[in-house]
Structure formats: structure tokens, C-alpha cells
Symmetry: C2
């Protein structure tokens, strides 16, 4: 095998060569590619592709085969488009034990499964930087829950699911000392730093998450993971690098060992130990944030403890399988028999057999221990190796017909191979430097197949240029035939880190189109214009406001003073699909709201100087949208201008009566 230095130079050279390749040398696009990706006006895409936003912290919904980004869904970052992370109702979604985090790094997605098949209920997403897992409800496409992960940092091997969505996992990529015992010298790494794997239980009906237990494992970098399926249900597989346990200059120091590990975790056995009282209660702090669909608001609570099982002490829950070299992807085929480890510095792809792993465990066919955890002999676990697949293998997905597809970052290609025979069947270049790839349903026990998407890291010269900062990009391949065919390049939102996808009908069946105003239980809801009012409580002023085409009630307010905290609680009274209203007021530090029909949303405004502040609707809602406006007068602190407002009612009085505000 090449040394790190040889491979490192080869890697750089390869990237440069690929990136400088003149146009026209790539795979010829078949004449019908245009027809294959064209979704005519009035027609719908065939597939929902949920794409991670990487360093944007959000998730995109992309239609396939058109490659059109239908919508960016806010998850771990503020979203200056619909108010997520700015409105009073949504701010608690971004609270953590470190305070409010406005922006995170979102890497992987998992669609909920039943019996290993995508069921269209929920989408799980990880936050990498401040470790969290989010759940989106696919009835509303909203982020409805976020749970923080204690004893963790760089939550990368997440949010992978078991085949009935029993658990979503989270493993710390960066080894860390346990929370509360973490003010220790960095050089004490080998002694104090551990790897914690979290098993977050999911309520079957509601989808709600809770950390059932954590496993304390050696201080490796846990990178990626996948659950067993079918015969291997009950097991989870985690890749780990940095078995060198280096803490500085990892590009050199964590690339020394020829093999690192895949760790096989028997989570059914771990459950038994937990029931048997073998867990230790650890004092930690983590936020658990939930969206209330009836109140239209989030709450954030801090939880204080977690149950931890020791892999060192409980010897038969974790086993290490040697895997060359700095393993990254760790993928399980649809049958559950094969576990594919992709060493990002390896020149081959090892495929492990679940049956062989079980046999090796039964026979104690071990090559030693690491921190008390048995190491299964490489050959004993191995089904076989894919020889010369490409350089820098990263991730593998499956088409359900016995084929595997592996992305290769360094040689910038997708390689198709047979899972049984390990024979390479096809290879296609990507432009450029593919990271993850995805087959539609390719992470389930019943892949849909048909399309493969490569998510690339380098874009230069693929699109009209936009200065130093370029978009990231994806490439759509037709995999219905023997050979893969490149159909389309499409740019993406953020970094398209990973993605999952399923046929459209799975996600279209139970969607909410608007919220019923009668069911709105927001504490400041205003269910009709006649209920609108303005209430002063000390320096807090609550405006109970309605919006309907094409006016706000009230639309003129006086008696606000500098030093007040003004809360506009705006209820959108519309009761039809696709009639949002917006709300903005000049100078507001939180600036804007976007309110769906039947919903209430709140903008806090702390006016800084006296003046006349217009407010208006920001979502073009009707022919008279431009007339949907009003004024708020702000007087100096201590002013005695009385609190009044116009409560407009077209039926009643076009000028609107001037009413007195309530003062508590």
C-alpha cells in the first residue's frame, strides 16, 4: 500500500488534473438526457430528494429528475426568509446548553423506516458542531424537535436509524473528556478522552426522542455509522479513525496506522444491560426543544442526566473489526449481510460479512483487545475486498439488484460493483471530487433505484462563475441500465453533504396545507378582527393583531414609548393553502415574520428612537397587497401620549374607530 505521503501527493495531483480537464472530454451525454430530466410546466417531479445543507445547517428538498431546489427547510440555523430563529416562537428551537446557537453544520439525513422501508413520516438530521439531532415532521415539513447530545463533539456519525426507527444514533467524532470533567490538559488525551455513542429512543407514534443510553468507548474519532438490517437487526456499525489517538496535526498523526476500526455494537444486548441496572447515571446538561403544533410555539428545557454503559466493562456489546485505512463510510447492504468499510486512504474496499462476524465472536476469533474491547481478526470478518476500485473510496449505496455504488473523492468517480462477486462493473467520472452519493432509497432494505446522485465538493468551471465563492453541486445519473449515464449537473444550497430520497407518492399523502384557526391554541392568538387589541403591561406592550387580505387590525397604534418591548402577535386569519402574510416594521431588530394561514407568530421590537414607524405585509398576497400597511407612533420615554389603536372593520366603519388600549 502507498504511504500517506505518496497518497497525499497523488491525491492533490489527481484533483488538479481532473479540475483542469478540458471540457468535452467527459462522458458523452446521451441524446435523450434533456427529455429525461425535463419536467414540463404543470407536471411534478418523480422523487423527493432531501439534501443536507452542510455548513448552512439547513435541509433542501430537491425534485428529481429536474434537479430543482423546491424549498430550503430551516433546521439548525436562522432563516431570514420565514422567521425561523428570529420569531419569539421559534427562538427556543436553537437553544442549547451553551445558549442560543444561530447557525450549525448539518451533515446527514435519515428518512424514518418501518421494516427497513421508507415510511414517509419523519426526517432526522444531525448538527455536527454543537451536537444535536433534529426531527422534521413530513406532514408540515417543519423542524418539530431538536435534542442536544451530551458528552459529545462533532456529532458526525448521526442521525442513522434502526430499521423500525427504534433508535437514532449519535457518536462523537471528536474524542472528548466527559462533560463536567473536561477542564483537563489536551496532552492527557489517551487518559481522559473518550468516544461516546448515543442511542436516542424514538416514540413509535409521536416520533419524540429521548436519550435512552450512551456507550462509553475508546477515544477514537467515530465518523459514520449504519444500523444492521434483517438478519443483522439489533446491531449497529460505526467507522472510526484516529486509532492513533493523536490530538494535533491529525492529517499526519492520525494517518499512521495501516488499519483503524469498524466498531460493531450489539444494541439489543446493551438494552438488556440497561434493564439489568448496569448503566451509570452521569450528571450532564443538554437541551431538548419541542415544537407544539397546537400552540405554534417551541419550548426548550435543559435535562440533567444520562445513563452510560461502559464498553470496557460490558465486554460483549462492542467488537472492533480492523479496517484499512482511516475508514470513513460504513454502509450496510439491503440484505443486512454485508458491511462495506471505505478507508479514505485505502486503495481497496473491504466488505465484511455479518455471518462471519457472528461466527468469529462465537469462536472468540480475536486478535487482541483495545482498551478492553475485543478485536476480531480482519480475515475472519471479511467477505472479500474490491480490488482497485478507485482512489479515496468514501461512501456506498445500493440499488437492490445486487449492485453497490461507491464514491471516490481522490480519483473523482463513482464505481459500480457487484456485492457478491466484488467485481467492478462500471465507473463514471464526477465533476469534481465527489463526497457522498445517494441512490433513491439506497439506504433502505428496498431501494427504488433508477437514479443516483453524486454530491461534489469542487465546482469550478461547471456553472457561470460568481466570483471567489462558488456554489456546491450535484450530478444526476441514470442507473437503470448496465452502465451509469450522466444526465444533469445542478447547483445546491450550502454543501450538499449527504441526501436521502424516495418516490413522491410516499410524501404527498398526508400533508397539512394550512392550520385550522379554530384549533390554534397560541396564548396570544386573535381569532377575529373584533378580538384585536393592544395591552400594556409595564414596559411590555402586546399587540393582538390579525392579518387578512388586505389589511392588519389594528393598523394605527399610538402611545408606544422608547424603552418599551413591543410584541406583535400576528394571527393570519386566512383559511386556504398558499396565502401567507408577512409582517415587517421599520427599524425592527428582528425585522420580519412570515405567517402561514391559521398560524400566530410574534415579532419582538424594541424601538430605539421616537418616530413614525410604518409596518406592512411582505408577502405579495393580493391585488391590494401594496395597501396592506399601517403606522406605529413611538414617543420619547416618559411620554404621556395615550395608548390607542384603530380597529378597522370594513363592515363597520371604513375609517375605523379609535380605541383605547388596555393598561394593566
Amino acid at each position: 500500500m502507498k504511504t500517506y505521503k505518496q497518497l497525499g501527493l497523488a491525491a492533490l495531483a489527481a484533483v488538479t488534473i481532473v479540475a483542469c480537464k478540458p471540457k468535452g472530454t467527459e462522458t458523452a451525454v446521451s441524446g435523450d438526457a434533456a427529455q429525461k430530466v425535463y419536467v414540463a410546466p404543470g407536471k411534478l417531479d418523480e422523487v423527493y430528494n432531501f439534501v443536507s445543507g452542510g455548513f448552512s445547517g439547513q435541509v433542501s428538498v430537491v425534485g428529481l429528475p429536474s434537479g430543482r431546489t423546491i424549498k430550503v427547510l430551516p433546521v439548525f440555523s436562522q432563516h431570514p426568509e420565514n422567521g425561523y430563529g428570529y420569531s419569539e416562537e421559534t427562538k427556543p428551537m436553537l437553544e442549547t446548553s451553551h445558549g442560543f446557537i444561530p447557525w450549525d453544520d448539518q451533515h446527514h439525513l435519515s428518512l424514518s423506516q418501518t421494516n427497513g422501508e421508507i415510511d414517509g413520516r419523519w426526517l432526522f438530521a444531525n448538527a455536527n458542531n454543537t451536537p444535536r439531532v433534529a426531527r422534521l415532521d413530513l406532514k408540515t415539513f417543519k423542524t418539530v424537535e431538536i435534542i442536544e447530545i451530551p458528552n459529545s463533539a462533532g456529532n458526525h456519525s448521526s442521525p442513522f436509524l434502526t430499521e423500525n426507527t427504534e433508535y437514532v444514533v449519535a457518536g462523537t467524532r471528536f474524542a472528548v473528556p466527559a462533560d463536567g470533567q473536561d477542564d483537563v490538559p489536551i496532552e492527557s488525551f489517551k487518559q481522559n478522552f473518550k468516544g461516546y455513542l448515543s442511542f436516542i429512543g424514538i416514540n413509535k407514534d409521536s416520533g419524540e426522542m429521548d436519550i435512552t443510553f450512551q456507550i462509553e468507548a475508546p477515544g477514537f474519532n467515530f465518523d459514520l455509522s449504519h444500523a444492521g438490517k434483517g438478519k443483522s437487526h439489533g446491531w449497529f456499525f460505526f467507522s472510526c479513525y484516529n486509532s492513533e489517538q493523536a490530538n494535533t496535526l491529525l492529517e499526519v498523526n492520525a494517518s499512521q496506522n495501516e488499519k483503524d476500526f469498524i466498531m460493531a455494537v450489539n444494541w439489543k444486548k446493551a438494552e438488556e444491560y440497561l434493564k439489568a441496572g448496569k448503566g451509570k447515571k452521569m450528571a450532564v446538561e443538554y437541551a431538548h426543544n419541542k415544537w407544539d403544533e397546537e400552540k405554534h410555539m417551541a419550548t426548550s428545557t435543559i435535562k440533567k442526566e444520562v445513563m452510560v454503559l461502559s464498553a470496557e466493562e460490558l465486554k460483549d456489546i462492542c467488537y472492533l473489526i480492523p479496517c484499512p485505512k482511516s475508514p470513513h463510510g460504513c454502509d450496510v447492504d439491503p440484505t443486512g449481510e454485508y458491511i462495506v468499510g471505505s478507508g479514505k486512504l485505502a486503495a481497496l474496499i473491504p466488505v465484511f460479512s455479518f455471518d462471519k462476524i457472528q461466527k468469529a465472536i462465537a469462536n472468540k476469533d480475536f486478535a487482541g483487545e483495545f482498551d478492553g474491547i475485543p478485536i476480531i481478526k480482519y480475515e475472519s470478518a471479511l467477505h472479500g475486498e474490491v480490488q482497485k476500485p478507485g482512489l479515496g473510496p468514501l461512501h456506498t449505496e445500493f440499488d437492490g439488484k445486487g449492485n453497490a455504488y461507491t464514491s471516490h473523492f481522490v480519483s473523482s468517480e463513482v464505481v459500480k460493483w457487484n456485492i457478491e462477486t466484488l467485481e467492478v462493473l462500471d465507473r463514471q467520472p464526477t465533476f469534481y471530487s465527489v463526497g457522498h452519493l445517494m441512490v433513491v432509497g439506497g439506504d433502505s432494505s428496498k431501494p427504488y433505484g433508477k437514479y443516483l446522485v453524486a454530491y461534489n465538493k469542487i465546482t469550478k468551471d461547471r456553472y457561470i462563475p460568481v466570483g471567489p465563492e462558488l456554489p456546491h453541486s450535484a450530478q444526476l445519473f441514470d442507473i437503470s441500465g448496465d452502465k451509469m449515464k450522466l444526465l444533469l449537473d445542478f447547483p445546491t444550497h450550502g454543501e450538499p453533504h449527504y441526501a436521502q430520497a424516495g418516490p413522491a407518492e410516499l410524501f404527498m399523502k398526508d400533508q397539512v396545507k394550512f392550520y385550522k384557526i379554530d384549533e390554534n391554541k397560541h396564548p396570544y392568538v386573535t381569532k377575529g378582527e373584533n378580538e384585536s387589541k393592544v395591552v400594556r403591561d409595564g414596559n411590555k406592550v402586546h399587540v393582538y393583531m390579525t392579518s387578512i387580505r388586505s389589511h392588519f387590525a389594528p393598523d394605527n397604534i399610538e402611545g408606544i414609548r422608547v424603552g418599551d418591548e413591543v410584541y406583535f402577535h400576528v394571527t393570519n386569519l386566512e383559511q386556504d393553502w398558499d396565502v401567507p402574510h408577512g409582517f415587517a416594521i421599520k427599524g425592527a431588530q428582528n425585522a420580519e415574520l412570515l405567517i402561514m394561514p391559521g398560524e400566530t407568530a410574534t415579532l419582538r421590537w424594541d424601538p430605539k428612537k421616537p418616530g413614525m414607524y410604518p409596518m406592512y405585509c411582505t408577502d405579495f398576497c393580493s391585488a391590494l397587497h401594496q395597501e396592506m400597511q399601517g403606522y406605529v407612533r413611538v414617543s420619547p420615554a416618559g411620554s404621556n401620549v395615550p395608548l390607542t389603536y384603530h380597529l378597522n372593520n370594513k363592515k363597520d366603519n371604513a375609517q375605523g374607530p379609535v380605541k383605547q388600549g388596555e393598561v394593566k
Copy 2:
């Protein structure tokens, strides 16, 4: 003409009918539409389409004919993707006289022009809510300047340009009392509220803006505007509604008059009066924010005065032209002779003649005055009326072949007509409720033509659904033939309010691909790894950090304490295109950075509790990206752990020497 109520009901009915139209009844798509919009992998789009983000506050670059969103450019909102509005360098760009505004509403765009033709230098954008104008440099596609507009609210009739980019204008949509005299009763509207039009001068070479003068005009709602061209150069035309001067329930109260106005402004004459000392100096406050390309940082300064000319006193700078009914769009044809006023409640489109307006002024052919401003007789200014164009005409652009294209919101269609003969030539439905439309170069004196894009307000059933909150959408038409042909639907970022476009070669010529490290004048730049250091100054800690594939220097830091303000000044040492690095540290309230090659960016971090905080690169940069990480140890306040760091240098010592931090 229909009364408001009749038209209002018709409007609603029409929207409903259109939205419920069964699929398949729309214009048949010609068989070659797929080929016409397909941009094969490796090929580039033909046209740059700059699209407003509406309530997102940003601007998108869309490629045509593919309809692919290439990149979202942050302008008036925070951007949790590249750090705009979060990094220390970019925060000043969002400062205003009301403090930091994280999010605004971006409506219109103008590409800079020379002799009425797009020159590819700058893009101007307006902020509607807290009134501002931004300038983007099209060498870097960065927002490089933002100027706030005093005496204004709802900066809607902006940022339209004169034909040599002498001025960009801003007119207050909401009439307001003058700044500093604005704590007055709302019912004193007719007495105290005015309309201010700002003429912002632009430096020919640098593009820098400054408010040259404002015109104080009556308290109407100034809505849209366009400059004269060719023969009408020296004039500007502003549409205005609410000539009723209502302040509540405008959908009724501002829809009473059969005609409102277009105001023609002789800005060359205004310049003369300014030179002659006829302006009044007014005390105001407005922010002026500039990006320094060498220092890679922004500054914000508050300016304190503005020169104001009175339209009432200086009688020959403003003239009112009656225009039916609640005029919205105000568009000037490529020759500069025709001014098209689109009354959003009108059932016809009046076209005014510049020559006739001049003649009427010379002959004092007036129908009276409004607040001292002459009203030109409607018939005297009129070239003619387009009869029965559609319902709810909004905006018009031109193809340079004598044709005009007008969007109709209520009847949801685009109508093509002849500017000279006023004959309707074609009409095509839009799906649904089109707002602005755009012809490539259609706002210049030399349109490129070929494509028209309709920017729609309602989307339901056009894309795979995503719950209550749907994307907005655009539709691409081929206008190269006699009849318009619908080619493609594509979803957009935010609300695609308006757009401008030009052929790709205009924007590709002078782009910056990366920043030269030698020219970086950031005060905390680190130009090589050996210059990296950590400096404590009281409770402020400055980390001079470098990033290069695939490590940070330093990558281990100890001696940070709770209560410190830590500034990571990260310099990306790469010197090639498309090699950004990211930076994130666990728990950071500002979370992340994205740093282009040669640039320095700063993340402020206030650690809240002791612990071990990993940091890592968030932009997949190399085969060993996953190894690009480090640790920061935070000790309790008052701790005496010494300030140290690892300064890694592969050439020197793989483990890296541990160095002492400087303490000032």
C-alpha cells in the same frame, strides 16, 4: 370603469379560478422546450439572471435558460452559509441608525449602465423595510456598500438608475413626517407627512454612493420609478398611489380616486437649484457602510445631514401626470419616448409621451395643482391607451423590437403589445398571479430579448408539495417568435420580486477568483504558519490562525477562561480558485466562518462554561479534510492555566512545539 368593490371581487374570483384550473389546460409546451432549456453537463448558461429575494433580503443568481439557482448572494440579511452578518468583518454591513438589522425585504435590482446599456460593473439593490440601497461589485459578487435613506420608510421605488449610472434613486413608499419631527399624531397625516425622493450620486470610477439631494414632495405613497433614457435623459418618473392621503385601511381608503399620479422629476433642473444654493440642510441620521477589499472588512459610519429641495417652492422640478388607478409599475421604453403607467386596479394601460409632456409643460397645459405642484392634463400627456389588456396590470418591459410585455396579476397573464399602435399581439397565462416580469436587458436602451421570465406570487400544485409553506416560482418564456412560448417552471429563493439579466459574457470578463495573500491588509492577517500566535489583552484573546489543506495553526490552545472574549482571526492561505476553508467551534454563539482563499475572517466566541471545545474545518477541502481539527481548552474564570498553543509545522516537527501565548 368598474368600481373598486366590483373589481376587488372580480380579482378574488379570478385568482381562485386560475388557481383551480385543472392541469393540462395550460398552453401546450412545444416539443423542443426540453432541448431549449437543457444545459448539458460541462456547458454554461447563456444568461445571468439576478433575482431579488423579496422577504429574504438577499439576491439570487439564476442561470438561463436552465432556471438553476447558481448562488444566493447575501445583501440585507444574515447568511448562515458564508458568515455574512455573523463574522466580525461583515456585521457592520447590517448596521443602521436603528442599530443592527439582521434581515430586510429586498425588492428591486438595477444593473449599472453606460449609455443606457448594461455594463456589467455593479448591481444595485433596495431594502424596503429599513430604507437602504446596496451596491454589489460584480468582480467579486459581494455586497460592498450599503447606504441608509433618511426621511423615508418602505423604500420601494428604488434602486432605479439613470442611463449612465449618475444616480440611483430611492423614494419613500410610506409618507412620513421628516426625521426628528416625527413624534406627531397619525391623524395629522395631511399636515405633517411627506414623500421624500432621494437622489444618490454614484462615483463614476469607484461606484461609491452618497446622497446628493432629496426632494420633499406631497405625502403620497411613491411606489415605483424609472429614469428617462435618450431624449428623456435628465428626467425621472415615479408612480404614486394614495393621493387620498389615507392612513388607515388603505385597501378601501386609498382606492377612492379614479386617478392617482405619475410624478415627472426634472433632476437636471434640481441639480441646478442645488448648485444655486436652493437646498435646505436638514439634520438627520443615516448609516453608510463600506466594505474594504484590501482589509477584508466593513466599516459603518453615521452621517448627520442631507440637502433637501422643496417641490412646492421650486415649481419647475416636479410635475404630476394623472394616471388610473392606483398606479404601480412606471416603465420607460428603450427610446425614452414612452412612459407606461400600470394602474393595478385599472382595466387599461395608459402610455404617456415624453414629447407631449414637454409640450404640455411649455404650454402650461395644466389641470390645477396638488400641494403647489402643477398637474399636467391627462390627455395632453397621453400617447394612447392599451384597451382591455387584462386585469391588474403591474409591470412592463421591452424587447427592443417595438414590443412591450405587461404582467397582469389579477388575470394571471403576460400580455404582449405594440408600443406605437398599442395593439395587443399575444397573451399567455402564468401559474399563478404574476408580479414583476423581466425581459433580458428589457430595462435598458438595448434589450437582449429572447427570454422573458414571469415572477409569480402563487405556486400551489406546480411542484411536489412541501406542507403549508410553498416556494415562490418563476416561468421562462421564449419570446423570439411572434407568440410567446412557455418553456419552464422553476422555483426560486425567497420571493422573486423583480429581476434583471444580461448575456453571460458581460459578467464573466473581470471576475476575481481568489484574493492575493500578499495584498491582504487585514489588521489580524497571518501570512504564514510561522506567524501564527495567540495574544491575550485583558479578557480579550486574539488567535492569529491559518488554514491550509489540511490543518489549522495553531490547532491546540489552552489557557482560555470563562469570561474571555476569544477572537479567531482565520487566514485561508490557499492561493487557488474554489478552495475555501470553514471554521467552527463547539458552542460558539456565532458558530461558523467560511473563508475564501487569501482572505481573513473573524469569529468571536464567548465560552460560557469550562470544557474541551473541538474546532474543525466545515468545508470539505481535501482527502484529509476530516482530520482538519483541533481543541481549545476552557478553564474556569480566574484559572491560572498558562496560555499555550501548538504551532504545527509539518516541515519542522510533526507533534508541533508547544509555545507560550503573548500576554499584554
